[in-house]
Symmetry: D2
Subunit: 487 residues, 4 copies
């Protein structure tokens, strides 16, 4: 099969067994249900982009397995340029959808990370995981599927390792290994874009030790596999998605995050890429987060682009020039280019793994994660600041009031400014959606928290080299060491 | 009447003619309707506080008109201590309700500002506005009513003054002056707490000139006055307020903001405090914003207190000590104390107006407004950061899913950590409510925007004095002036 | 004696035994020697201010011991207003001198702190320290002397307490107690303004335990006491003070910091205020730092005033209007008012100690210390930014080159802009002096470091109260405690 | 000639006619005179690096003119990798010298910018400037010379263009064009590293119009050309460079900035690269500043590396572990990697000019300039914070006092902590040197000020594209334009 059309993509989702729930009810068709249709439309744009001459260079690429044209989201990143295109593609897709299409990027990163991890495992352990992954990937590319990625376990009491939890299911684990499959139980939580996914790629948690070996497990499954129940989470103002009108202003994008419950799911052997090799669980995650933390800078920049545009648009709709806002608009772009640029830099300064996978620079990727935990929030505040009171909390009457036979004419009369009342309302709702509404991505904790990035920065920063440079400059030869720990 | 009980307060609201709408429908009883009961409960706590030995010192005071014990929200602020108590009271009420009770504080500031403005008008123009205000205020105190305050006009095209708008109703204005009343038309928008108010105090916009004299109008009206239609605005996740359960976690507080439409409302003369005296429209607003911009630091500190507490609580519910979060918790408190402290300082450095009203220091009050436009947002980000993924966007299944017969046991199993699933969910929902949910106050633009505060800072900062000090220190006697403007 | 004149002050310094050194040489007369005359001139302005109708209200006050008019720097602070005047006075003196006059404010704080500490000691231990202090203070006021304050010990290895240091002299300590005196040995380092002091007030370090009791010592001594050697430290560009001309642009202010070496100094009993009462060493320091950390906000604001003025002046000297710099000038004033305002707030929110001493609020005082460790640095950067390249590092030829017979005419020709070359150079040198030159005060570590302020903020912030508020709002009754420490 | 040795480099400086002055006196030998020997030693390390196997890959490269191995500082940057190596090389050289070696990098950027500008001029005007440049460059590479670059004119009254200044010499200009040469008069000010240069590359100011055509001039000259007088400027604590000992702690690096006075200097035609072609003056400067503003991020990161090392070293010398400083050390590295990384990103996202020159991305390069105007200052504050009081302002007795026969033993006794007194002093002096001393580079205004970068960011950010994206997402088709300017 060649690259799929948006319609073929949607059709494939409709064919899956319904197993996604929200508000206590089963979603029969994710492509039309109010809770999921927005994210499906967002993901559909990715298929459109791959077929669009303007965007195909970013949205598609050539398979390193078959030489055929494939979705970039199913490719192996093998060069700095590939890694930079990760940043650029994410920025583009945010530009087009206004928010996260997590059913693609986390899956993409997961399969790339596993490309490297399985390579090392096979080299060192004599396993055949890497070949399994290749086989699966060829099919995935041929069928042009969407793959979401799932890492986060519920974890239970965070002060205890998996094997010491009161409830051993608090982290996803292997309960049985059979000849042709493994059986897994537990959950993955806060997983993006599953509603729009054909398959789900599972990574283990990090840093497991021998007692936790059952938790060292990685595999890929069809979304509708037996035993898997998916419950979508709430997000801000999600009930508006069930309403008519423009109070949810964006129809061509949306984010979902789900809890995945595995009740003794049987995963066929050829879809398993780690099975108890606990020593590699750290690498599995590290290989995931470095490119992720680099490229997430593209995501938030892409949303920042929209915020700057929406803020400028609302200023004009209010009858104002953007000139008095130049300082603030410039700050918004500084924030955008910082996270985007550092993502590009982490790509540019990376190095090639033996498997061919391009490893982004861990120091700069983690620096970027710290910025992703602050700059986009500043950008949001600036958008609200420029937009004024109606943008800050979406402080306008509802669509129903806008159209009320009784007082709708008053609402419209007084919402009109330099543009029509409807346009002004739509753009104010867009800012609300982006900053305190349903368009908010989980950028703080997605790919790990900023605080977790700091020790990696500290470890990679080369402090001892700096100390040596300082000593040389100051002409000091005395040994001045870290003091020993005292009781 | 003495200080009212919460129940008497609610009863008084029920007696008013219903004229508040949301989602296209009339709210028959604001004390029980899901859209308004939260804010009514919040305001009810203020009445409880005035009767509570722990809080009465802040929540009540002695009338400068009658010597009787009254709600502090109906008092005239006459000293630095009174002005500091404004900051402290706002912080307390945020502590108790989690959010804004705008039906009290804006009204309080409005009547205080008008105390000073009418005093000057009467002195200079020979009018009797100040006496009218005193008469009304005595009654208001005696009946212990809630008064909300309304300033913001729709404004239309912001680049044009009121009298040059295509639609002259874009700012509230006098359409007729009759012997016993004035007739007004237009709207006030984004007005807090009207749902919980007995009466509404109207201030004019600022800086009007002679052609705009019809817009220079100030008065107080019963909320249910003939010709006034009130439409409540949306706020984030407001549909949840119609749901059962804890997805709206706070039941004892809530914020509303409304659009007020005046269709030829007749305001009795004795309730009018400005009628075309355009030269005083600037003072009317300035007298309002100085104490407002000082005391709003107490508001956001009070909400910040809750955020710090909720963040620490969620960390513990996750099984973590708060120790690794000390740096961030400390930063939250630094932010809280900054806006609170600068409010106190603006009070301490103020001076007495001839009317007895205490004028807060405009320089520090406006500096505080700038901080209010940034520090609380940083505090929110820290709360989300500490709270983790479930707090960031409230990334948990709905209350319905939590209790689903089919999968509720799974949701609860995996949401449990060091506390029960319910407690952990409740506190995560609280952080969501405070940071991206229905608890968000309009602190950026309430009382004017930070950007509008900057020119006032510049004007009050004493740059020429600084220049003189610098010249003296550097031993410069040459005259070095601002260059003349060039064509 | 009434308030002294500047000349009487200088005369009193000349009468002291010379024991101050710099660059290996004894300074015979501190009032004329290039290394010390600047700070003496700065301190002399304080005497002038007390006699100046414009400034006497701040610079002088009434003695609580005698009812006579005294220098405010020798008064006991007994009210919020007194504590606010501390902030205001410091800002004024920075305005007049451009920098720190540490020979007054640390001494003032030290004697106030000791007022409270000795009161408690006498109450609890039956000692007569408080009476000794009163006796001394009456004389100090009568003679209108300058008293510098000294806290900081060399400390040696910071990971060890005083009594476990390899060299026991690393903290100042009592080596003998005799009938009429004590004998002390050790050093105090980085002590401000000693060159301009008549006497020096010594405080102990904080947190001493029983084995360290010899280190719990407080007293006041004449600067020229036998056995005391004072070595002035370097500061940036200090050699310029030996040059002619305006490369040191300020002649009426200057800062000195000295190392004080005590070689078995005999301190008369009536001048000793703590002698081995180690349990009070913590209070001695705490009583010092709270008002200090509040009022230091006035210091840095006062220097910030000069920086804003100098930046505006240089812009004009460059031929530019200050308008395009409004955003940055406003930021400078925001910084100034933040530290000044929080100092005022800490004063306003303080409480009275049993001794009569006004204790500033520790929470806000320590928040201010954190800002003092960052905002003034931002203000400096803004001054350099506005000033341009010549201000940034003082990038101009020397005074000698300015007047060179060979090329002085070229230097002057090309330094001229909208003002004379000399004025432009003087103001650029002033910015250099304030930001990277001899005018820099030690505001980061003076009164303790910002990092040391954070635990105090954390301890005073009331986190558990916040947690309780959050639980109440979210309707949580479950006990959710800090987890127990694990091995 | 091959790559020169450090000694050959110094020898070449000694052969030049002495024409550099400081403190009113002629410097006979820049390699030994205290005012210039530091920077010469710094530049000498560049020659050593090119011959050092560890550093040659960065410090040298292959000539695109001759294919021979040359100093990278004399190469044409033709690829993203070349532009990244600019960032890396600058970081390395700051690591080795602690400060700026402006005699190389500005010259390098100037000749690269001129490579592109002259190419365009020749293409469009039929001139032979590009060939002249090639000829000169071949010789420069062959002789391995140091070339400093000079842009900044004195400018006089900044509100007026060059041709309207009261004194026409306020910008460097052509006074005569002769057959074999041009004659120039005026000055260039604040020029880095001239003391260590063999030749000086002159660029015009930007944005000249026809009346200013005489000011559109670019050329390269031997430093000792007839008619050129060079006066070195002061920098913080520069007199210490005349002292013995470690109060100037760095002997292998130093920065100089000079004023260059041109009194009718005759520049041979073959060394002239622009002569009145005013339309290209903008490009000449733009081509310079883009790579400069990218790569300056490497400079400040390189100095930041030293600051982090010195801060850690001083903490250890004080007896402390670096662990409690992890948050702050991490912040220092975040700052370093931000400016370095954005420089790399600007290189990676650049594009090739028709001349072969690699143009860095202007958006990210200018974003970086904004950061260079703030982050390094924050890094300095952190270094002072970690280092403690002795680091903050170098608050220690002088080298003379350290060695005083009278009290040197006391100074040393009390400066000793966990390291020797000398080591502790040296590293504290290093922090002083880096943050308020002679090691400070002019990073705020070097290559133009941050404020000047903002309009370029605004212009390149693509706001209208953002607006279109926002409109598409919000479903708005109405034209909402910037309002027309009103009178």
């Amino acid at each position: 099969m060649a690259l799929r059309t948006p319609e073929e993509f949607k059709e494939s989702l409709r064919k899956l067994r319904p197993n996604v729930y929200k508000f206590g009810e089963l979603i029969e068709d994710v492509t039309t249900h109010p809770a999921t249709r927005g994210t499906v439309e967002g993901h559909a744009q990715i298929f459109a982009a791959a077929l669009d001459p303007e965007h195909e260079r970013l949205a598609s690429t050539t398979s390193n397995l078959t030489g055929e044209k494939i979705s970039r989201y199913l490719s192996i990143m093998e060069s700095a340029e590939d890694a930079m295109n990760n940043c650029k593609l994410k920025r583009l897709i945010y530009n087009l959808t206004g928010t996260c299409t997590g059913g693609r990027c986390a899956g993409w990163n997961a399969l790339n990370a596993t490309w490297a991890t399985t390579y090392d495992m096979d080299q060192e352990l004599g396993t055949d995981y890497h070949q399994r992954l290749k086989n699966w990937l060829k099919q995935a590319q041929a069928n042009d599927i969407t793959v979401s990625g799932a890492l986060t376990d519920p974890k239970g009491d965070r002060s205890l390792p998996p094997s010491q939890q009161a409830d051993l299911d608090m982290n996803l684990h292997i309960v049985d290994v059979q000849d042709d499959c493994i059986v897994v139980r537990g959950a993955k939580v806060m997983i993006c874009g599953v509603a729009a996914a054909n398959e789900i790629f599972i990574l283990p948690g990090a840093g497991y030790r021998e007692p936790d070996e059952d938790y060292a497990v990685s595999f890929v499954i069809p979304k509708d596999i037996e035993g898997l129940t998916i419950v979508e989470t709430r997000h801000p103002s999600d009930m508006r998605e069930f309403e008519e009108g423009f109070d949810t202003p964006v129809k061509i994008g949306g984010i979902t995050q789900a809890y995945l419950f595995f009740e003794d799911v049987r995963v066929p052997k050829e879809r398993v890429f780690m099975c108890k090799e606990f020593k590699y669980s750290g690498a599995a995650v590290t290989n995931f987060i470095m490119p992720y933390r680099a490229a997430i800078g593209g995501c938030v920049a892409g949303q920042g682009d929209i915020m700057a545009g929406a803020a400028a648009l609302l200023a004009r709709a209010n009858g104002l020039s953007t000139r008095p806002f130049n300082e603030r608009l410039t700050k918004m772009y500084i924030n955008n280019e910082t996270t985007f640029g550092l993502g590009v830099a982490a790509a540019a300064l990376g190095k090639k793994h033996a498997s061919g996978y391009w490893l982004c620079d861990p120091l700069i990727a983690n620096v970027n994660k710290v910025y992703v935990g602050s700059l986009p929030y500043e950008t949001k505040v600036l958008a609200q600041d420029i937009g004024g009171g109606i943008a800050e909390t979406g402080c306008m009457p509802s669509f129903k009031d806008f159209n009320s036979p009784k007082h709708g004419h008053l609402v419209q009369k007084y919402l009109k400014a330099a543009s029509s009342a409807e346009s002004r309302t739509r753009v104010a709702r867009l800012i609300e959606w982006l900053t305190v509404g349903a368009g908010i991505p989980g950028c703080m904790h997605g790919g790990g928290s900023p605080e977790g990035a700091k020790p990696i920065i500290r470890a990679n920063a080369g402090l001892e080299r700096s100390v040596a440079l300082a000593k040389r400059l100051a002409g000091i030869e005395e040994d001045i060491s870290e003091p020993e720990k005292k009781k």
